[in-house]
Subunit: 690 residues, 2 copies
Amino acid sequence: MTFILSVVVAVLGLAAVGYAWLIYRKVLEFDIGNKRIAELSGIIHRGAMAFLKKEYMWLVPFVCVVGLLLWIGISFGSAFAFVLGAFCSAAAGWLSMYVATQANGRTTFAAITSPGKALDMAFSGGSIVGMTVVGIGLVGIAFAFLLLSVESMTAFGMGASSIALFARVGGGIYTKAADVGADLVGKVEAGIPEDDPRNPAVIADNVGDNVGDVAGMSADLFESYVNAIIAAIAIGFTFTGLYPDGEALGMWGAAFPLLLAGLGVLVSISSCFVISTDIPVIGGFVQRGMALAEKVPFVKDMLDRVRGGDAAFALRAGLFTAGAKMIVGTLVLSVIFFVTKGVNVFLAVTSGVAAGVLIGVITEYYTSSAYKPVKAVAAASDAGPATVILSGIALGMKSAAAPIILICLSTLLSYWLAGIFGVACAAVGMLSITGIALSVDAYGPISDNAGGIAEMSGLPHEVRKITDKLDSVGNTTAAMGKGLAIGSAALTALALFVAYAQATKLTKIDIMDPRVIVGMLLGGMLPFVFCALSIEAVGRAAQAMIDEVRRQFREISGIMDGTGDPDYEKCVTISTSAALHEMVAPGVLAIVSPVAVGLVLGKAALGGLLGGAIVTGVIMALFMANAGGAWDNAKKYIEEGNYGGKGTPNHAAAVVGDTVGDPFKDTSGPSLNILIKLMTVVALVLAPWF
Amino acid sequence: MTFILSVVVAVLGLAAVGYAWLIYRKVLEFDIGNKRIAELSGIIHRGAMAFLKKEYMWLVPFVCVVGLLLWIGISFGSAFAFVLGAFCSAAAGWLSMYVATQANGRTTFAAITSPGKALDMAFSGGSIVGMTVVGIGLVGIAFAFLLLSVESMTAFGMGASSIALFARVGGGIYTKAADVGADLVGKVEAGIPEDDPRNPAVIADNVGDNVGDVAGMSADLFESYVNAIIAAIAIGFTFTGLYPDGEALGMWGAAFPLLLAGLGVLVSISSCFVISTDIPVIGGFVQRGMALAEKVPFVKDMLDRVRGGDAAFALRAGLFTAGAKMIVGTLVLSVIFFVTKGVNVFLAVTSGVAAGVLIGVITEYYTSSAYKPVKAVAAASDAGPATVILSGIALGMKSAAAPIILICLSTLLSYWLAGIFGVACAAVGMLSITGIALSVDAYGPISDNAGGIAEMSGLPHEVRKITDKLDSVGNTTAAMGKGLAIGSAALTALALFVAYAQATKLTKIDIMDPRVIVGMLLGGMLPFVFCALSIEAVGRAAQAMIDEVRRQFREISGIMDGTGDPDYEKCVTISTSAALHEMVAPGVLAIVSPVAVGLVLGKAALGGLLGGAIVTGVIMALFMANAGGAWDNAKKYIEEGNYGGKGTPNHAAAVVGDTVGDPFKDTSGPSLNILIKLMTVVALVLAPWF
């Protein structure tokens, strides 16, 4: 049974990788017929890969040391799983960025021809990223599941989480340092436009988009995906309450989340056809199917809108199609597995998915300039930067309320319907369509980069307009992805937390025990300290970049009139080394704290620590992400001409908000989701010690 | 025994009130020999009292309704205790402000004569405030203790807490609206100095200092003081573990915290003599004693420095003397009560006091411009307002770490030494010298006001210099008071939390129960929502004030050249009505949330809610208070001439930080301490419902 299950899951994973490979071949076949574009894309590609190579060189000793400690302290199986998880995460990040930095230039070139072609190219790049991540995830889990015990498997998640944390923090520091350096000195002080080739930090800035938004996000979602599945497996094995006579689910409890995820892969692939209409599947199988489907007038209309380049419609159609299929599939799978109780499990999963989607809608409400909250932040610019900051902070804090209530409702409901297994499966359900959700996410930075390349290679303004349109659509749909990421992080962390308690044979974690409340206070404090460290790291790195860009403008003659070449390489090096140095402290804090508290104050205190960290971590993640997003879009709203537009004191005030929001939304905020899971999974893996 | 104890405690309380009365007579005897000063002091006095009157009018129906609900739902005793607690808190706030607004003008006038006289007058005003608050607190508790059951007594704390929350939030909104209005339009736009009589908001600003820093703080400390004592009594009665054969402490468990507080009153009064050397005690008893003590050369030197007006030395000498006496007294009292276990209790209390003092030192480190953190915030002004904000936020978040660790250590240690009774008594120990600590705190706003009056009445610059010196010394010693306030809030909340669990007969509050973790998430979210509401309230109120001040400058001709009189009254009305309207939502949130969660999700979930709220509440309180304090002092540091001083872009950037910090440190931050205790005590009082 284990063998068959592993093979099925591995095959589904390989299907995703195979699909990614097909699309990759298609992308490569599309030649960039413009030398300048090819050159710029190449520079960005090499800069990004150089960063990742250096980052991984830093992480190899870390992985080896932790692996060795696990081997000595726990078991060979755990050590192996940890290294495997770390390796798979690194591979997913590497391949994602390898491909994304080849798709950016092609998207620019395609935009010269038509919006439809550009959408197809950008989304093709994105879907390679999405499918590679879930494919590697499933294959890795299948492999670990086949060879290892469930206890050891949790170390796979720990490996993935630790790489993800470093990638998110490092990538976040890289991209924000470059961004602030490029903006503050280039745009504000020297007065040259965004993405102007005279700006020495412009390449670092474009590399940063890939390092942060592609490699960082891929590692992040890889971590979410595998940890949700692993938590569900760990709980499913021993879970009683769904089968008559209180029988444990055993292998069925592992099979259900695995097949749910596998189903998600099939759904994701088949929904990609809606967005990217030019799929080169061997033997023309898909083409023939699509030709048949197009006989239905409704489908034909839909595909025509997509081919015409209506990106907003295409992405939404793809996501909704996937969601609808997934709901039907989950119902079928649940009933097969749990017969009469199947509906319970189905509703538990659906409640999680519904909560995730609604959190996405709320995120959109609080961060899009179409609604009142962001408009209020923009309006606050009338009284200067201080009120912009205060209104953004208040917005962020308030915005945590509704998502938290939704998470609570979904937790209570899925627990009531199907116990903690229901909670765990709800998280898997949310992440099952990661394949297509991440495709849509990764499409964003590719379009953004394509715009940058268009600007730098001096293409006509219309090309930039097309890529800008693609980019802005991506930002909107990304809100949905964020909602799922935060919601699933909360539920996964709760499931892992229960798995930890089971593993340490804690029958209760009683807040009235002073060690537990002390643990909670310490755990609640960690996200604050973590954010402080990462904000300060961004500040220091940005300062180094500002100094360097100022130096180049001062010392290299002829930059401004185009006769002197800025030293792009130097800026890339600064971002790289700053990111690598600064990611260490927050990462170590996350891993060492649970170990220290567990060893000194015992397993109950560690339980309190995890509880406290989950509570403040989830709330802070919402606060920081939404405040940052709101400031960003308030600035863009003013740049569209509201409150006087660019160049006014209102705009200057909004820029202050945006700069404060940068590390909030791109460094500290998203890292918190990983932080809480990493701490919990570390405790779970090391449970035998406590 | 109850009777004797009540009488003893009431007598000690009356001693404090009597001492305050003596000092008050001394203050009144000092005539203000300058018509302009007397007039301005009168305007501020009337404005402040008018606000408080209106505020209490708003609160009367609230108190009546809640009292009625308690009568119907719980018992007459609880209703009576609630109304009594609310009344005592209101009386303490009223008397404090009544006196402080009479001492401000006298301090100005005294400063014309000598620094020593000014110090004496300002501190006399402060000590009336301090002694009134603790005196009313002790008398009220003695009265409740004599007449009511311990269960009903907790409602006394609930009454005090709810008035305190409204007073803090309302006062915070009032003072910040006036401050921002006066600064932004008067100082920045019109370019006139601070406290210039041409500024229409100048009176509202000076009234605000009293409303926020005197009335708000008095209600706040009154709440802390009585709740700490009540929590210790509630726990002490049934506490077993200090007497042989596991006997419950019974009446002794109530008597110990009561007498500890009573001892603190004697210590406070006797230590005031060190600071205010001119004490008119009937029969010259004190004078004779002091004359005798002065024969010791060391004491004479000390008193000479104080008489010379060395305020920093005087305040510190007073506090240290009090602390030393209190330690000796606690040891004696503990050994009398608990014989061999007395040392345990003594050490538990001392660990709490030590933690409180150390938190004060840390607060000072993070918020004084003498140390690295604030200097780093000032240095960040080189890159503009955004980096000032980011570095301040990072500083605030980081600054929570050490105090939380100290609170954890002190909790573990006092729990280990003397159980939860030890934790509760540690909080009482921290607050026992509230009498003198609050005297030192309240001395600050009196000196501040004295400076404002000096400016407005056009006195020579030297007078202002003297009051400024007094004021800045007060700011430094106030850090110690903040440390004790936060430390005691955490310990008191924990003790009340345990009392709640005992009252609802919860044997455990298990985080693994999904209702508890859901409660924790909701509880953790509340401080964020509460802060958002109060920040937004300040923003709206400040905006109304800005509009009004701009209008007056525009419409009233001759304001700037002194031929037209600004309409001070209008600004006072705006601050008043904004404060009253805006304090409702946050206040209601604090009271309704625990009730709703308890009724809907049950008592375990409510336990989780309280735990979550305590964790994030304490951390957020530290974050906001320290970030705000750091921005304030970074601005002052630049104004002293560093980084170019006033008028530079660096100064403008620091002003943005200061404005953001204003609601952080004066509205949201300090309210959080009250919020967590109010929520816990509401749950405790309503325990019979759940």
